[in-house]
């Protein structure tokens, strides 16, 4: 863990977190030795394929996983300078909804189908605030407005099935910000929605970040969304963090083959050259039978013998940009050159006119 940065001011510090699931088939090591930090008011995006451990990691922070079969094997979670690693369900109740809110991926199933929208929002309000019923109703209407829902008065007495996917997601957002949390974790909030709605929801999240000073961890597998909203990126693969850095660094100067491959696989309509749609061959690793190595190695064009024997330590490209890849080793220069050459050519043809969130 980094000793240079003063971590006391951070909202969230995660040290060496490992989370496993005990199943009949064995131990599934969903998250291994992951460390990262989050500043107040920051928007960080966690990127990776399905199964990379993104959701498990964030749900472990908010203690939303079923324990058992989930198990926090090791590590520390420090929120607002308090060690919440061993907090019980009761102790976490003061955190969930009030300090840290979580939005789940599928808005279709995330709302109770037999309860009216208003009742569910008021439930969120009452879990951490005392107020008169009439005030609560007025407040929920405000929340719905902040979340960008039209006609909030009508929505309150409707049932979830009467709303579209995008509206339901906004209801989820409204419930999540009811107690003005300092951190919102949004787990693939737009994956289940149309692309047009997608940018609207992202816009709402950005606005809330500005107005409430609320930090956001946005989990996604879509680099386009990352470019839209994040200031910092954490890339995960096979339960481990493989690269992290500011968004410009990641997009223009990423040093991990996986990150580059992810960026390259985003279809582009804004370039002139014809380019074949690229993809990453193969599928994510089997989390049941892991060995001590870089999980990306079998799919990596640039993998070396050492990649199959150890997992790389942290290499710092600069103060804020870290990579976990053996290409950074001096002895790997030849392969590293190959890597950079391939992607420099890529970079030249592709990287024009991309707008980043500053």
């Amino acid at each position: 863990m980094d000793n240079n940065l003063d971590t006391r001011g951070n909202l969230l510090n995660v040290y060496d977190l490992s989370v496993s699931f005990d199943t009949y088939a064995g131990e599934v090591k969903a998250v291994q030795n992951v460390s990262f930090y989050l500043n107040r008011g920051e928007i960080v995006s966690i990127v990776g394929e399905s199964g990379s451990g993104k959701s498990v990691m964030t749900q472990s922070i908010a203690k939303l996983l079923p324990f058992p079969p989930a198990r926090i094997k090791s590590g520390k979670i420090i929120y607002n300078n308090i060690d919440i690693s061993n907090y019980s369900f009761q102790e976490m109740r003061n955190i969930k909804g009030k300090e840290i809110s979580y939005i789940f991926q599928d808005p279709m199933t995330g709302l109770n189908p037999t309860m009216k929208i208003g009742a569910q929002i008021i439930e969120a309000i009452y879990s951490h605030n005392k107020m008169k019923k009439s005030d609560a109703i007025a407040y929920s209407i405000d929340l719905l407005k902040d979340a960008g829902i039209s006609n909030p008065n009508k929505r309150i007495s409707q049932y979830p099935y009467e709303l579209s996917g995008g509206m339901r997601q906004r209801v989820m957002i409204a419930m999540a910000i009811a107690s003005k949390p300092k951190l919102l974790i949004a787990d693939e909030p737009t994956t289940a929605l149309d692309v047009t709605i997608q940018s609207q929801i992202l816009g709402t999240l950005k606005e809330l970040n500005r107005n409430l000073g609320m930090a956001i961890i946005l989990i996604t597998h879509d680099m386009g969304i990352v470019a839209n909203i994040a200031t910092r990126v954490i890339v995960m693969y096979g339960g481990k963090i493989v690269e992290t850095g500011p968004i410009i660094e990641i997009f223009e100067n990423s040093l991990h083959p996986y990150t580059r491959a992810l960026l390259a696989s985003v279809p582009r309509i804004d370039i002139d050259e014809k380019k074949e749609l690229s993809y990453i061959t193969g599928s994510p690793p089997d989390m049941l039978n892991l060995s001590e190595r870089c999980p990306f190695a079998p799919r990596c064009k640039y993998s070396m013998k050492i990649c199959y024997n150890k997992f790389p330590t942290e290499y710092k490209a600069n103060e804020k940009h870290s990579v976990y890849c053996f290409l950074m080793e001096g002895s790997a220069q030849k392969t590293m050159h190959k890597f950079l050459r391939d992607y420099f050519i890529e970079y030249q043809t592709v990287n024009r006119g991309v707008d980043y969130e500053k």
Binding site: L64, K96, G97, T114, M172, A176
Partner: protein, 290 residues
């Protein structure tokens, strides 16, 4: 629909072989007189019309065997007992069945789960009359904790309700458990958790509410099986309810009773199903859309 049933039943009963008065010993002329009295000597069509018109007036006819006792009276006298028995059985089954199902789901894999599953299996595979027997034998005859038969005081209602309700309890427990397990993993429960609600709130407001809806769909067939269950349980415990009368009328070939009681049961069931449908619409808002 009811009309069709009445018609079909009427003609089925008429087809029944045998003669209601065959076993009665009486003078030759008396038999004819009886026939004439009951209108049995008239052509079928006329009997049918007469029956229907009586029915519209609410008159279900008269028992052949128990002379000059009207079917309506029999119903009025014995139905309350059966109804009471049925209600007790259903409440018993619902309360304990749901409880057992919830416990089994919450403590999945532990002792209570296995125990409730065993109870469920026993309840669904052992027929109610066998259960009725055994508890009668052990608790009434051997241990003498409860009266063997009759239905007068509170104590005497316990064994029959239990026997009638056990099968139901088993089914309800099984369904509740499955439902709860499914719902515990659903997203809106996770959302409720993420809001910071207490465990009790999560279980009652979110999990239970949705888990119980499928139970409602069980209610209709449940009522039907309670009705048929009373036939058996009443016989075992010698309860003078409607079920017993039905069985006796069938074995005695007392046709008008059979007819009248069948129509009554059928009408009752139709009414109950209607009520269940209405309840379902009230409880599940998603149904209202369609």
């Amino acid at each position: 629909m009811m009309f069709l049933l009445i018609t079909i039943t009427f003609f089925m009963v008429k087809i029944l072989p045998g003669n209601p008065f065959a076993s009665d010993k009486m003078q030759a002329g008396a038999k004819e007189a009886l026939y004439a009295y009951y209108g049995l000597d008239k052509p079928i069509w006329q009997q049918y019309i007469t029956y229907l018109s009586n029915l519209l007036k609410g008159d279900l006819g008269v028992s052949f065997k128990l002379r000059s006792i009207k079917v309506n009276d029999i119903i009025a006298q014995s139905f309350p007992k059966s109804c009471d028995l049925g209600i007790r059985a259903i409440i018993f089954a619902l309360v304990f069945g749901i409880l057992l199902g919830i416990l089994a789901a919450l403590r999945r894999g532990k002792a209570i789960d296995s125990i409730s599953m065993i109870i469920a299996i026993i309840g669904t595979s052992v027929p109610s009359f066998i259960i009725g027997f055994f508890i009668q034998y052990f608790f009434s005859v051997k241990l003498q904790w409860f009266p063997v038969s009759g239905y007068d005081n509170l104590k005497s209602t316990i064994l029959p309700s239990f026997a009638l309700g056990l099968g139901l309890l088993a089914t309800i427990a099984k369904y509740t458990r499955t439902s709860m397990l499914e719902i515990t993993n659903s997203d809106y429960v996770k959302t409720a958790n993420a809001k910071g609600l207490s465990k009790i709130q999560i279980i009652f407001k979110h999990e239970l509410r949705n888990a119980l809806i499928p139970i409602l769909t069980l209610l209709g067939p449940m009522i039907a099986s309670v009705i048929t269950g009373t036939f058996v349980v009443e016989k075992v415990f010698a309860i003078p309810g409607l079920g017993q009368y039905y069985v006796t009328s069938v074995t005695n070939l007392d046709y008008s009773m059979v007819l009248g009681l069948t129509i009554f049961f059928a009408a009752f069931l139709v009414l109950m199903n209607l009520l269940v449908d209405i309840a379902y619409i009230i409880v599940d808002p998603r149904i209202r859309l369609s």
